[in-house]
Symmetry: C2
Subunit: 422 residues, 2 copies
């Protein structure tokens, strides 16, 4: 039933039905959570061998005693495993601590206080970042933390709206960066096309120290057999004469253990030297034993890819469940659209304009916690109040089904309320 | 033989002897290193159980799945073990990443960009830190990295010269901090007296956001059976009405494995909330599996102290060896003085004024690498060119003996050269 096409006098009946369905939902006293992109215990179990590695007599890698200080670039053996999949040559790829968010934080801090390789310190300047929306809330809050203005730009299925991006960066020298999740973007699953990557890598920018903050968080996180590839941003930027433009970030957090994985940074030789030099004042080096542990567990790139197949086997059915339930009850209603991602951790659900907050509130009262409406926009401000991010990985599949069923009821109820004018 | 009392015509004979001894030293083609305060492999071996921990089926602590994201304060079970020895209540003690230097770096970055709990952001202000000298080179280079002026103050056996410190901080509001290694200071082994700690905790400061950067790196690193205690800076500061003054830092790097240990931060409830809030924008939490691994290995505070006894058994003989050789050949010569530390990682050697650089150069040419002369002063500038830091932990005891023997020859040769006027 296409709800948006109903006449005013046709709405009371479905409204009454949905209120009844919602009361039944509440009566279930659910306690479900679709908020965070956290791996489920079952996914973490896949890497439990790590908990006994590298082994009592195994602490050397090459000539390095991994137990001692030093080695700022991280273990070459681990960088070797990730180099191909991330498209970054080993000498330009650093293996660091347990959080790629922390590496993003560091690069911004060093850009602020020391300046990038080709610019003055950003601190004291009024600077801006472009933020494709909907996007990742933690990217936006990093900007807010340091008083950097977030400028939303539309995100399409093949990446940010490049006409808008090109125009803004060409005319405004205070725009110093853009957040990009180029593959299976959070939350829409968008995959940047080759044309998008090429334009980002080569577009003229008013700021000579403009940076692509290239958060390749889901590089290996396929949900289908179609292992999507994206263009190599480092190569394209170098070819376009902008070798220092991309800062590439990645991590093994959603590959092995979320809190005790390894973060990676990739960039031009100059950017890598810049980060390492700045880090050298403030660390004794990353946890190389954890690097070695990951080498012992993953073994090689092939082992890494085989491991990701196991991850997919656990989470793909959860995504299929959500998509099935959304289609079954929201398909053809005209009050919702959603992404059908080929990878990543999220489904982006657009509900009837002006009802996202209401949906989240209804769900909450029914015991289903959703990411706050607006979280996918800078300052939590979704101008059309319609985007909701669903994160199906953490709950078990029965809970995913129950929660989605409940969310659908809330989406429909909020829509019919709205259409009814109350 | 008291060399400083020799007449000019008495010097040629010892000079010739020492030149001969030095030539013989060079002929040995040594390749020794007394530079860095790194644990020896034998020390690291003491913690090799960690390399198989926490074990495949052991990943929960309390209700927490340590493998997943979150838990910014670190595992309570680990904070419990270190709380007593560090003199910080568990709720005020954070267990963080693998590097206490990184935590110091972070606190300075947040003070610069966000301001401390009781002050404006430091960035853009001309600020200064007091630096007791001789001190730790990495403390000084952190200041240099961020353009903070280092103001040297004399360090005595019971701590910084408090008359000087009190005068400077009372009159100069741009002095925002002081580096303190309160127990077994790097490099002199100085232990701050109760009176010193009390004065630091209570002295009036012109800057209302003045901080004690309290690097308690060697809290448990005794070299004798006399397990020295120092006064509790947090308690004294709180009692004096300055609860937010101390930032307490420590780590397990020189307890378990240097590169894969756990760093700690302690402070007032307000400071702890400040650090955690600022960190929350830029991390997914510390590596809790590594925290759990340390809990499994150390078990409790008693286990920690017993472990440190094993560390002492390995390194104390190396210190005794250095002290024995220094006394044997430099005692009574009048050209050198040295610390006799009861803990920590270093021996501070003061040679004849104006000869430290020459000693380091002579040693280098004989294949013995020493920490650069001046490294224990801000900007590498030892105004009297006399301090040399010896780090005896890393080499084996035979190498320690050989290296010290060689250094002594260089100290004597440089002194007699100097006294001879060439």
């Amino acid at each position: 039933m296409e709800l948006t096409k109903l006449d005013a006098d046709e709405l009371p009946a479905p409204l009454a039905d949905l209120r009844k369905a919602y009361d039944e939902l509440k009566a279930q006293n659910l306690s479900l959570d679709l908020t965070r992109g956290k791996p489920a215990a079952e996914q973490l179990d896949l890497s439990n061998e790590l908990l006994c590695l590298p082994g009592k007599d195994v602490f050397k890698a090459g000539g390095t005693d991994t137990r001692n200080y030093g080695g700022l670039a991280g273990l070459p053996e681990l960088r070797e495993i990730f180099s191909g999949p991330l498209g970054v040559p080993v000498p330009q790829l650093l293996a660091l601590g347990n959080s790629s968010l922390a590496v993003m934080h560091e690069t911004i801090v060093f850009a602020l206080l020391k300046g990038p390789v080709d610019g003055e310190p950003w601190v004291g300047q009024q600077i801006k970042f472009l933020c494709p929306v909907p996007g990742y809330d933690r990217h936006f809050s990093l900007l807010k933390q340091f008083g950097i203005e977030a400028v939303p730009v539309p995100l399409h299925e093949d990446g940010p709206d490049m006409d808008v991006v090109e125009r803004l960066v060409a005319e405004d020298a205070s725009i110093k960066g853009i957040w990009c999740v180029p593959k299976y973007a959070n939350p829409t699953g968008a995959v940047y096309s080759e044309d998008t990557v090429r334009r980002l890598a080569s577009m003229p920018t008013a700021a000579k120290d403009f940076r692509l903050f290239w958060d390749n968080a889901y590089a290996l996180h396929h949900l289908t057999e179609d292992a999507v590839e994206i263009a190599n941003v480092l190569e394209l930027a170098t070819a376009a004469g902008n070798p220092n433009r991309p800062f590439v970030f990645a991590s093994s957090s959603k590959i092995t253990h979320a809190g005790s994985g390894v973060a990676f940074f990739g960039g031009s030789p100059e950017n890598v030297a810049w980060l390492t030099k700045n880090q050298s004042f403030g660390t004794i080096g990353p946890d190389k034993v954890n690097h070695l542990r990951h080498v012992a567990f993953l073994k090689d790139t092939e082992g890494l890819l085989a491991h990701m197949d196991k991850q997919r086997a656990v989470i793909a059915p959860k995504f299929e469940m959500v998509l099935y339930m959304l289609e079954k009850r929201l398909g053809g209603t005209g009050v919702a659209q959603w992404s059908k991602p080929k990878g990543g951790y999220f489904i982006s659900l657009d509900v009837l304009e002006g009802t996202a907050k209401r949906v989240v509130q209804l769900a909450k009262e029914a015991g289903i916690v959703l990411t706050p409406a607006g979280a996918t926009f800078p300052h939590g401000d979704d101008p059309r109040d319609r985007n909701i991010r669903l994160a199906p990985t953490f709950p078990d599949i029965r809970e995913v089904a129950l929660a989605t069923e409940g969310v659908v009821t809330c989406v429909l109820l909020a829509a019919v309320e709205k259409l009814s004018g109350n």
